[in-house]
Amino acid sequence: MGKIEQFNYDNGIVRNFAVATAIWGLVGMLVGVLIAFQIFTPGLNMGPELTFGRLRPLHTNAAIFAFVGNGIFMGVYYSLQRLLKTRMFSDMLSKIHFWGWQLIIVSAALTLPFGITSAKEYAELEWPIDIAIALVWIVFGLNMFGTILKRRENHLYVAIWFYIATWITVTVLHVVNNLEYPWSWIKSYPVFAGVQDALVQWWYGHNAVAFFLTTPYLGLMYYFMPKAANRPVYSYKLSIVHFWALIFIYIWAGPHHLLYTSLPDWAQSLGTVFSIMLIAPSWGGMLNGLLTLRGAWDRVRDDPILKMMVVAVAAYGMSTFEGPMLSIKSINAISHYTDWTIGHVHIGTLGWNGLLTFGILYWLIPRLYNTKLHSVKMANAHFWISTLGIVFYALPLYWAGWTQSLMWKQFTPEGFLQYGSFLETVTQIIPMYMIRAFGGTLYFSGVILMLINLWKTAKSGHLIANEAAEAPAREEYVAHAGEYWHKWIERKPIQMLIASAILILIGGMVEIIPMLTIGSNIPKIASVKPYTPLELQGRDIYIREGCLGCHSQMIRPFRSETERYGEYSKSGEFVYDHPFLWGSKRTGPDLQREGGKYPDSWHYYHMMDPESMSAGSIMPPYPWLARRDLDLTYTAAKIKTLQSLGVPYPKGYAEKANDDLIKQAQDIAASLKKDGIETENLATKEIVALIAYLQRLGTDIKPSTGAVPTSN
């Protein structure tokens, strides 16, 4: 044994991340509660910055990257130091990491409500913030690997394997999905278009769930559950198999978000097959977590921390069973675009991430402050409130999802859609939305209770910013004959990093590279042309307002959909879509064939007051679109950017684009005037651009309208 060395654990940084977790959790969930009410109360959409479309990405980003993100760092900084018996590599890097991450969160809160978004789900932040995320993530990586390299414990516990795999995979995902070409200091278009963009996005989107919400939290489970139960993990062998199987399979599953879309069939099949395979490692991990409590189940009765952890792991089991089921095409045909998906996701986030985080916070804060928890009673109350909150949140959404899907697909004996008006299928589920909002509020109130409890706990003790520890110095490891290479990998973090990287790259490359390189995957359609400058501006307004949060642009090849919306979507229709805007939820109807369905004036009135055109609509009004002048400053820059991404605008078109734009705007304004809309300078307003875009949607392949779209 080496010489015993004295050192300190850095608890200050753990405390900072814990505080950030709790506060951002509160903020993210508050926004969640607000949008849960907004969805059935259009009047709660208070002005442009506070509409559902703009707040929804703020909620998802806050929940994933602010709440869970800080939760990951809190758990990693605590467990890494103790598992490796050393202080973090650099206090300075820890600080840069902490403040950098908080600054990124603040910049998200300052851009998303203003409509500065790249439209990619869970990757909405624009390019300057993407670069900041990459830099801070690298700082985290340096700090983590530095710590691993200066460790006193030879072996890397399985939790650290999960941290390493998380770090490398998130790096790859973030970089590839955010390849974008800026057209201003804050805005950009993604490099990929249409189907390719969709595949890359959902390869990322699914793995944001896998490698941000799951693998790092599994690492935390493997550390904090044994701690809380005071017994080692049920089977270390199982944890190793869990690790390798999970990271290898997870990366392939992304295309299950795109079943029955225009994505080539082979990619959809891969998504399905790997998603079903995922049950095995996921449930292996879940059982390993639950069985860790063997012989300690009596304590689960009175210990709120263990209760929370048990329900968290059970929620992990439920959502990892449900996920593969939803990836079977015939089930996905029912669930996709409905609230079922939202219910599914929240079992994962509220149950798995939320309750595990709360359990860890209740365990950690008393230790950091060298005191006892202020009130076990309050923590128990929190457990019940949040568990009930999840039930009240998820069940109505399952109900709503099934109801809506069945209504969408119901035909009369004569062969017509029974619920031909989409609105009927929305008003039917509004009571479910109300119960969901109640469930969310319940869960949120539990968090307030926790904050009070933790605040009082902290006040009753003193922060031990530097906790004294001692451990023998690390011995030089002498390899002995017959040593297996697994042991060799497991002792060497860099080998571990490389092995994980290879595993996750196999899946990513096999799926994505053929899509990017083989032309036959996306059959061209000759009549599909680039957007006119006015339509392009309208499309950017559509993105800014977050319309895709509630409207899809992807008609699946089902009779119930082609009857309702028109011809099903073809991959060749999206080749100039930077970014793709297929959406993933239909709170409102699909818009892919919206063009030419209604007169321009219908859209005008509908945007000013949706209820004037569809009584009972829950869509918020957008009156500012008729007040705001369309910004023409960047038209040329946008066209040039798209040209360099391969969109075939004629040479030198960028300079003339605004002339065409004004002409088309005047045509639309004239048509609006003809229908009695007399607003002053209508041709210069944003609403005209949005109408141009909506009227263009899906018309390229309609033989009657011809190849070149016009506004009327």
Binding site: W266, Q268, S269, W485, H486, V510, P514
Partner: protein
């Protein structure tokens, strides 16, 4: 039932088969290697989270 699932998920092409084989390879290798480890090593690994402090009972942080 499984036949139905496979059929309805379309043509599982060579890539899926290759991926499945790669996965089986990794799965089998990791199982073989981990089951050849000695018990002492596994115990040491499993106890790593617990050997840094004596009072790991979460209940000790709770006022009863």
């Amino acid at each position: 039932m499984f036949k139905h699932i496979i059929n309805s998920s379309g043509n599982v092409n060579w890539m899926a088969i290759l991926a499945l084989l790669t996965f089986m390879f990794i799965f089998v290798i990791s199982i073989v290697l981990i089951f050849r480890k000695d018990k002492k090593y596994l115990d040491h690994m499993a106890h790593l989270p617990l050997d840094d402090d004596e009072d790991s009972y979460s209940s000790t942080t709770l006022k009863q």
